[in-house]
Subunit: 299 residues, 2 copies
């Protein structure tokens, strides 16, 4: 069975009864596991994490739209977080026994059905994008709900699915497929913030570093040290060990050592196994050699 | 649910119908997954690999004894591999959601029931052993079936459970709990066999090295290189990364580099995750942060 993660972001973080109604709609879909949900009042936004196989996840996303549309009206929505729609962003993330291509197909199927059933225009993003200029979520969401009518009037912002104008209350949705994010911090045995900032600049894509790294230097004042705070957006193409080694080398150039690193939240097993393979110089290793994988497969 | 591996070794490797009868008895136990079985004619011995929770595994071991006793007579058994009994050795191996203590308890419960139900004397071994002098399988099995009556007459070789004399046809059984073995080889970029042998001697317990390492130097003649061939009997206490680093340092002393390493067969995920933690200097990491573990737990 495929294991796919789906993390819908909805534009409601202040009315718990509404959030419960949305989560309840997902709970009623068989074979979907609700893993987590949390709301941010300032953002007026909630993030729901669920997992399952493709068909039940698609059904759960449709159930979420069906529940959200009568309850969330973007014309009356305010919050700090940028948003385009009621159900704002829906990424599908391949976890196990499933390829990115499978998740792209699932994202497109789901997007087509959302547009058809609810008359909500949908943009595809990240790996599901059909247009390089519309790959980044930030670009798609620029102008927000309030600017959506004007934006959609431009030919290059015609949606991938659905009507050519926004849904009156629900705006538009952004549905796509992406790799799991890894929030990965490397702490340096120094209080020199300039060093952390220089290393962050050296490793992040935006200033010439690795393709799938976002990074910044921050001070951990309570500990008297600094941190290179990293988001790894594709651990297969920019692996953890390569980033760790690069930070170690850059730090040495300033006479600084790495104190420790840390993973915030969740990490795919393959990212850690890949690091072990690298440092142990493992030849011809396959995931099938991991005992737990073997035990689980042969049910 | 606990995931425990159980790997019974039985003294029959030449009569396929007998082996099939034994495996069939295991297959009929619900909730036990038969993962593998293979027979060795020269050894006249078969190894069965199964997995499951404690209660069904205990039931499967009892079913195996019940099937084996009328079919295997040690008085008529010959083979190259040392053996004490019809069902010769039964190790329980903790894999996931289960501690070694749980497996020790399971081994003792199973041993008591085997002795009670079949009048077969049972020795506990490895982590389940109650006596430091009777921890190693080799020590318990020394003298084999043929020497068992004389051995059991010695007070220090009274069995842990069951009668004080061997079962006439089935001898005695050795039941216990142990860590999973990792067969781990490190290939050196040289054809100097003496270097591989010296490194093997430096890292293995028997000659002063790591507590849970067995190692030997061998030539891979078809490739023109040599190998340090390692059995890691407890990867938690003697981890892969420590052995790899030690081999790398010892090799450097002879001007030799590590070409690659390889895992033969299966490896517990924790052994690889532990290596990643080490090299990435991960602080306060828990297995609960591995996405797949989280997804699986919250069913």
């Amino acid at each position: 069975m495929a294991l796919i993660e789906c993390v819908p972001n909805v534009s409601e973080g202040r009315r718990p009864d509404v959030v419960e109604a949305l989560v309840g709609a997902i709970r009623r879909v068989p074979s979907v596991r609700l893993l987590d949900y949390s709301s941010d009042r300032a953002h007026n936004r909630s993030v729901i994490t669920m997992a399952g196989d493709a068909a039940p996840l698609k059904e759960a996303v449709l159930a979420l739209f069906e529940a959200a549309l009568p309850l969330i009206d973007l014309r009356a929505h305010a919050g700090e977080h940028p948003r385009l729609g009621a159900v704002d962003v829906v990424p599908f993330v391949p976890i196990e026994g499933v390829t990115m291509e499978d998740c792209v197909r699932l994202a497109r199927d789901t997007a087509a059905e959302v547009a058809r059933r609810f008359q909500v225009p949908v943009y595809l993003y990240e790996d599901a994008s059909t247009n390089p200029a519309r790959k980044n979520l930030e670009d798609i969401r620029r102008g927000q709900f309030e600017g959506l009518t004007a934006k959609m009037a431009q030919p290059e912002w015609a949606p991938d699915f659905g009507p050519a104008t926004p849904h009156p209350s629900a705006g538009a949705a952004v549905i796509g497929a992406r790799m799991p994010l890894i929030a990965y911090n490397i702490n340096l045995a120094t209080d020199r913030l300039d060093v952390a900032k220089k290393i962050a600049a050296a490793i992040r894509q935006s200033s010439g570093g690795f393709r799938y790294v976002k990074a910044m230097g921050v001070a951990l004042q309570h500990r008297g040290i600094v941190q290179v705070s990293i988001n790894l957006t594709n651990y297969e193409k920019t692996p953890m060990f390569r980033v760790f080694d690069a930070v170690t080398r850059e730090a040495a150039r300033y006479g600084v050592t790495v104190l420790e690193s840390e993973i915030v939240g969740l990490v795919p097993a393959a990212a850690l196994v890949g690091s072990a393979e690298h440092y142990l110089q493992l030849a011809s290793f396959t995931p099938d050699q991991i005992l737990e994988n073997r035990l689980r497969r042969q049910t």
